[in-house]
Amino acid sequence: MGRLERTKSQLQASILSLVTILFLSLSVSASEAVDTSSTEGKFNAGELIIHHVLDAHEIHIVDGLSIPLPMILFTENGMDVFNYSVFLNEDHEPTQHYTSNATGNVYAYHHGHPMIIGDDGEELAHVGWGINEHSFLDMSITKNVVGLLLSLGLMLWMFLSVAKAYKSNNNGAPRGFQSFVEPLILFVRDEIAKPSIGNNHNRYMPFLLTVFFFIWIGNLLGLVPFLGGLNVTGNIAVTAVLAVFTFLITSVIANKGYWKHMVAPPGVPVWLLPIIVPIEIFGMFNKPIVLCLRLFANITAGHIIILSFTCLIFIFNDLSGPGTAYGVSVGTVLFSIFMTCLELLVAFLQAYVFTLLSALYFGQAIEDHH
């Protein structure tokens, strides 16, 4: 009992410190925004929030300290690798142009993306999904790629060491970090995979476990302050890739019954088939799309809400001066703390939901239809 209470108080203390640090970092980011917006005259909360939620070519730690990241661009004239810092002027604003020695392209940085410009400064090509005269690929190690590699690296380190512990532990009771990880692994196995897939769940455990921990760790990293507001799982590209994996696996493992139910559902009158079959086929694609959007929207919304509460202070500062802002800050800090706690829950919940739905789709695909 005493031990439990101690752990509880430790947990409370760590959550409290986490929240405090988070709030501090958010207010720092927001104050920077006030500084930059002061030149334009008015504080633009929407721009600030979207800027923080979107991907970037630098990691903004605190005001005045940001890490410029390497940029890798595949253009019609070849590959260019340089650092984002080439765009920065003395005020750390990306206003400079950069001429590549390798390809001869002239790059400018505009609205969060590089582009190739002509002699008169006109846009020749922008970031896209193809390599041609109007479009080039941006494969830079962006903020979210760093976050992605960080969370995946963290997973590798965590679970390889845990696997080693399992080997050396020789079927003994779990020790140390094992004790933390094992309930989660058992949760995925016994609460997600087994009920959804059934006896054959072992084949899908690696995917489900990787997805679960990747999403969860990614969500949590997004809540850690001073990491530049990593928003890995709040980026639609990441969630789309995960959803596509689920879709591909579902389609590959699907048995005859699954497809038969899609194109010729048994027991449905013939005249209904023209309506049912398109709905079924739409549903097949709808599932991964919803999977992708749900995770993206939940995490992004969480970030936006927490940032909004912080921005409220600066909006009131603009409206009625610092006194009101200090007054409002008391309320917004409380709301931020509440929202951050809620986001800690959402971080786990969304990982659970994504994994559970993936497992359910797998289960449907290999279900025995009689």
């Binding site: 970031v127 941006d138 995946l152 079927n171 455990m205 990747f214 590209a237 993206f296």
Partner: protein, 164 residues
């Protein structure tokens, strides 16, 4: 709009890194971890099973011990009962035998007595006859003397007779 437009770079990096991590973890982490957990679960359930089995065996052992004890007790009781029966039987047998023997002895004694008696009576008869003859002889011899003398001689003769 940019918020919901996936960029090629991030899609590319996510695919590559996620797949490699999936492969690495699947091969070196999830497999061994899940196997170990499964093994441990089996070990635990085996241990529980064998504990239950041992308990059951203990129970059976105790039961058979009780059974043995009960049987032994029953056997002892039976033996005691049997011994008692044998004793009673022996006694009664001995009694009847003794009775039979006694009866036999008595019967033979009676027979003997009867024989002796008959013999004695026979002898007595002979003696009486002899004595009668003697008396008659003496009476006849003293016939010539007076009657007093006759009477005296008869009395004398009678007195002479000893019935031995």
């Amino acid at each position: 709009m940019e918020l919901v437009t996936p960029g090629f770079g991030l899609v590319f990096w996510t695919t590559i890194s996620f797949l490699s991590v999936l492969f690495l973890l699947g091969k070196f982490a999830w497999g061994p971890i899940l196997r170990s957990i499964k093994e441990r679960e089996l070990t635990i359930s085996d241990a529980l099973d064998s504990a239950a089995k041992a308990k059951e065996e203990m129970r059976k052992l105790k039961e058979s011990n009780d059974e043995l004890l009960r049987e032994a007790r029953e056997e002892r009781d039976a033996m005691l009962r049997e011994a008692k029966g044998t004793k009673d039987q022996l006694i009664s047998e001995a009694k009847t035998q003794a009775k039979v023997e006694a009866d036999k002895i008595i019967a033979s004694a009676k027979d003997e007595i009867r024989g002796e008696k008959a013999k004695a009576i026979g002898e007595l008869k002979d003696k009486v006859a002899e004595i009668s003859f003697d008396i008659a002889e003496k009476v006849l011899a003293e016939k010539l003397s007076d009657s007093e003398k006759q009477t005296a001689s008869v009395t004398k003769a009678l007195n002479e007779i000893s019935f031995n």
